[in-house]
Chain length 710, copies 2
Amino acid sequence: MAAASTAVDSASQQLQFAPFCSALEAGFWHQLTQRKLNEYRLDESPKSIKGYYYNGDPVGLPTRLTLEFSAFDVKGPTPARCCPAVGTLYNTNTFEAFKSCDKKALLEAAASEIWEAIKSEKSLEDPSVLCRFILLTFADLKKYRFFYWFCFPALCFSEGIRILQPPISLEERFSPTQIEALQGSYDELCQRSGTTAVPYFLVKYTEDTVQLAPLHSWRDFFKEQRKVTMGVYDPCTLSQHPGWPLRNLLILVACNLEYIPVLCFRDRTLQGTRSIQHSLLLQVQLPDWNWGLPKSVGWEKNQKGAMGPRMVNLSECMDPKRLAESSVDLNLKLMRWRLVPSLDLDKVVSTKCLLLGAGTLGCNVARTLMGWGVRHITFVDNAKISYSNPVRQPLYEFEDCLGGGKSKALAAVERLQKIFPGVKAEGHTLSIPMPGHPVNFSEATMAQARQDVEKLEALISTHDVVFLLMDTRESRWLPTVIAASQRKLIINAALGFDTFVVMRHGLKRPKGMESAASSPSSAEPSFPGSSLFSNIPGHRLGCYFCNDVVAPGDSTRDRTLDQQCTVSRPGLAMIAGALAVELMVSVLQHSEGGYAIASSSDDRMNEPPTSLGLVPHQIRGFLSRFDNVLPASLAFDKCTACSPIVLDHYEKDGFRFLSKVFNSSHSFLEDLTGLTLLHQETQAAEYPWNISVFSDNSWRLVYSFIEALA
Amino acid sequence: MAAASTAVDSASQQLQFAPFCSALEAGFWHQLTQRKLNEYRLDESPKSIKGYYYNGDPVGLPTRLTLEFSAFDVKGPTPARCCPAVGTLYNTNTFEAFKSCDKKALLEAAASEIWEAIKSEKSLEDPSVLCRFILLTFADLKKYRFFYWFCFPALCFSEGIRILQPPISLEERFSPTQIEALQGSYDELCQRSGTTAVPYFLVKYTEDTVQLAPLHSWRDFFKEQRKVTMGVYDPCTLSQHPGWPLRNLLILVACNLEYIPVLCFRDRTLQGTRSIQHSLLLQVQLPDWNWGLPKSVGWEKNQKGAMGPRMVNLSECMDPKRLAESSVDLNLKLMRWRLVPSLDLDKVVSTKCLLLGAGTLGCNVARTLMGWGVRHITFVDNAKISYSNPVRQPLYEFEDCLGGGKSKALAAVERLQKIFPGVKAEGHTLSIPMPGHPVNFSEATMAQARQDVEKLEALISTHDVVFLLMDTRESRWLPTVIAASQRKLIINAALGFDTFVVMRHGLKRPKGMESAASSPSSAEPSFPGSSLFSNIPGHRLGCYFCNDVVAPGDSTRDRTLDQQCTVSRPGLAMIAGALAVELMVSVLQHSEGGYAIASSSDDRMNEPPTSLGLVPHQIRGFLSRFDNVLPASLAFDKCTACSPIVLDHYEKDGFRFLSKVFNSSHSFLEDLTGLTLLHQETQAAEYPWNISVFSDNSWRLVYSFIEALA
């Protein structure tokens, strides 16, 4: 009230307007963040957004223009009894651009648009042009700080607007019947206009009647020569001042009239009863108008009352876990802005990964998956954490080793949750039955093995990609067979001392289509370990066992300590683990996924098949030479893991077949696949490749072969 | 006593011996672990070790043969009043070898050796051969479990030894004077023998005198035809039984005599008073002996009283932190067993590493250093942990982000200690002053910058290797200059989106020797970025800035979000971080260290210069092609960081020079080094290399150059 009496200075009797306060909800910033990351990226062009204002606030509240999460949906609904205000968002890429933006020019451009709409009488058809805004922003998405500056462009008369008499409230001037009639008429106008709030309207009244019309009825309405009152849906609650929406309306009026009564329509609900009594009535004298472009004002003052931008720091009020999630997304989405616009992140993020092995490789693979935003990570391991693990297995700490050591699978899950609470991680302490590791000691051990197999089958079926990250060769056999049967992509990583192999297993064609594929290929020779063929499609690529001409068996017995431990250069597992995930991601980006033709070292100079580059079959790395080679090899028709005869037996006989493999020496699988015969045939003859196989460290020896080719 | 009366069965009157109990102290196992790791490795050949036994135990204690940490020092001293026993250690590489070892053969071989010593009378000269042992072990160093089986080879008469009268104690037979004389004589014998305990001796006595002689005096001693008593230093405390050492002595005696009195010399201290009164006297009748190899016994029973090995699990009783330390060492030492016997681990482990940057790269570098056993790691970073960090920066967790985020440098230290309590980690929250980032706003900012420079200089001087792991180019300038001046090895790593560079900076010759080096080289052309030269020695290699023809400046201003964040494929930092450490380790293994000639891609087929392989200047990686190239380039005489003129100014003017660099635009350094002139000269001419420099992402563009060369 004090403010009002000062403002309506009886000497000057100048009309003053209560400016809008910008009210930006967190939801708006969240939406802006999302749009910036996913849609605008580096695009700085102006965007249409929509806010709204309400006119039923209790006394004391400032006049607010609210922007919430729905602001970006310009054609979307506006909350009931609110008027929409359409604005233009200028979101800059840099803080420097935000600061150096020419705000005067922005305002003048907007003002000029309003002026044109007034002159062309377009504003009569669409009065919303009278109530526009500009929002200039810079979103510092790393720190969740948003810098912004609002502008509500208002044309203004340099000499001001005179008030002919102090503003009075509706009830001072009108009878309750008239007020009631006005209220009814406004509701009717809204109904006709198909909205719940009409921002501007025309009023004619007698003692008994009140007649309201939309702005575009201007000419017809004035024809009758009766006195017309301009109606404005007024968000202001001050008793002596109208709100900002009236400003540009008066410019419109001034082009036609000198004097006009104004109804600042205010529509409160007081103690459960609707009340428009406190609406204001003004009599204003509009200045003589020369039809030139009026001056304009409108940039909002900041919290300190100075002309300047505001800043909101949402990091403090956001749920830290949500904050973590969006922060993690940020780095990923940034990739798409400039570097890899076609990157299909959803494909990566939604991939369910099963990690068999939570040791050196498993920990590094899990960490890289987290970096890629993969949410669904499941660990299988049967070991406990020992004292030597934490320095090489980056999910464990010293404390995890105490008291005999925590289960790796479970501790890994705990750690992932500590790193990123949004992860969906699971751990299973499970022993994977292995060829040459008999399980037929008793009924109980057989039952346990059967249960373990079933668990593994179920886990593989509910995941998209299976990572083989164990430290023995034979533990990879069962998941290789199951995943091959289920047509799941396998990514396999194995370490030597300073060499590694990271590979994707061949992905068999969907069931029922295998024969179509095998008939043309059956004419071609199929040798293990051959990399002489290029352009091998994914369904014809080999698995980890295809290069071996000996079946897996117990390799842990009778090994010296250096053979039992994974003795490798400490950097190796990080490199191999990272490459395993990067290989998976690249394969996922290929339209054919695991069926993609394998890239080879020779393809390095060619156009890559995915936005991320090559999709090799194998990456074989040699740390001593800081070198990688990319061999590709065909599936071997006598493979002890993925050959049709093995898969057939597994699919037909299930556990009965598997238990035979577990309980037998390796000759069982070699006999089954025909390897035994091959051995006999080639024993006398010179061996066609310089593979010195028949060792438990088969991978190491395959290298010497690859090296010879490289 | 009950046991004794049963044992000396009056019917059979057979003499029975109390066997040794093996007493293996933790120190012994610790030493075995060390020897196995550092010395024996895969060598399974028998080793001489030494135990001892004591004869002053109080009644009730079993007869122990003790092996402690000193067991491997066969020529070392034996504790006072203890007799040494030399044994043979058979430590197998595998548990299978331990189990399948032919224990009968081992025993028979040892027995036969004793028998030969008896027959040849070598045993008279060196009676210790009568008391030997065998120790068969398998050390499961991963789990700190030790399997072992002791054998105390004893020859035995198939018909046993008859006792002619029940054993009596010394005091039952001798007067106190005689006892005192015996004790004096024994001490004198010890003194003559230069020891504190003589295991076997000869005794002659009268009423007044006691005469003792060493075993080798046998013939002289018996000449007198007086009755001789065999003396044995007897560790047994049973009143009716002698201990094991007597057994083989009686075989020796039986070759010469049929009846003999035996003195089981026992030398206790009771309530502060020495007492030999309880020594035993036996009269034994030795069987008729046919001079054939006697039977032998001696394998120790296990705790269950059965013939079988024992197991000790030291993991439970060791200090967990010590356990963690030795476990970590284990994996490293295993490398030397078979794979890299010449690896100088101490050089790696003792290297003090300074990590400038504790972000994505810093975390991965620290983890790899821990894997290599590096103990001394210092972080410098001025940032706080933000929500997007933990999934990519493997030393941080969600909790570290709360409340504005912990300091990275300090949180990284905490995490290292949680991973491995034995680490000596330090963290410094420090801003590194940068060219083009003025510090001359006020006295205070200048003082702070001076302090920061001094801190950085002190840190670099107290470390051996400096890692540059920051996310801007210009922050690498100051440490490059300081480390070049201090002749410290710099390992530098920088990331692009899917490319990286890992390099060692050239290491300038020691001060005062630079000119000798530069005179021959000054004749050669020195171009930035050239890799056309091979065999570049370390002192002529370039630094990170040598490839650039523009000085570092403020690259963080006016950058869009994707330029501010390190947007890279998540696996990239793990690979680059791991390679940075592996490069350091390889360089440390080179006899010339940082002065080593740079290996290039072409050297991949040649004999590597170190046991770990190549020592390239740079590793430039291309993840999209899974490829690395190894360019080498010369130091650039106009380099803005490591050229003589920059180092001269730094060394002469110190902070005065540096502050000029911080406060000036990049033209200052370009003018100083002559780059400005070079620009002018080459501007019109065609640029000799296809480097599209002059960008804030200089490294990314250098790649395109390297790619063209590769």
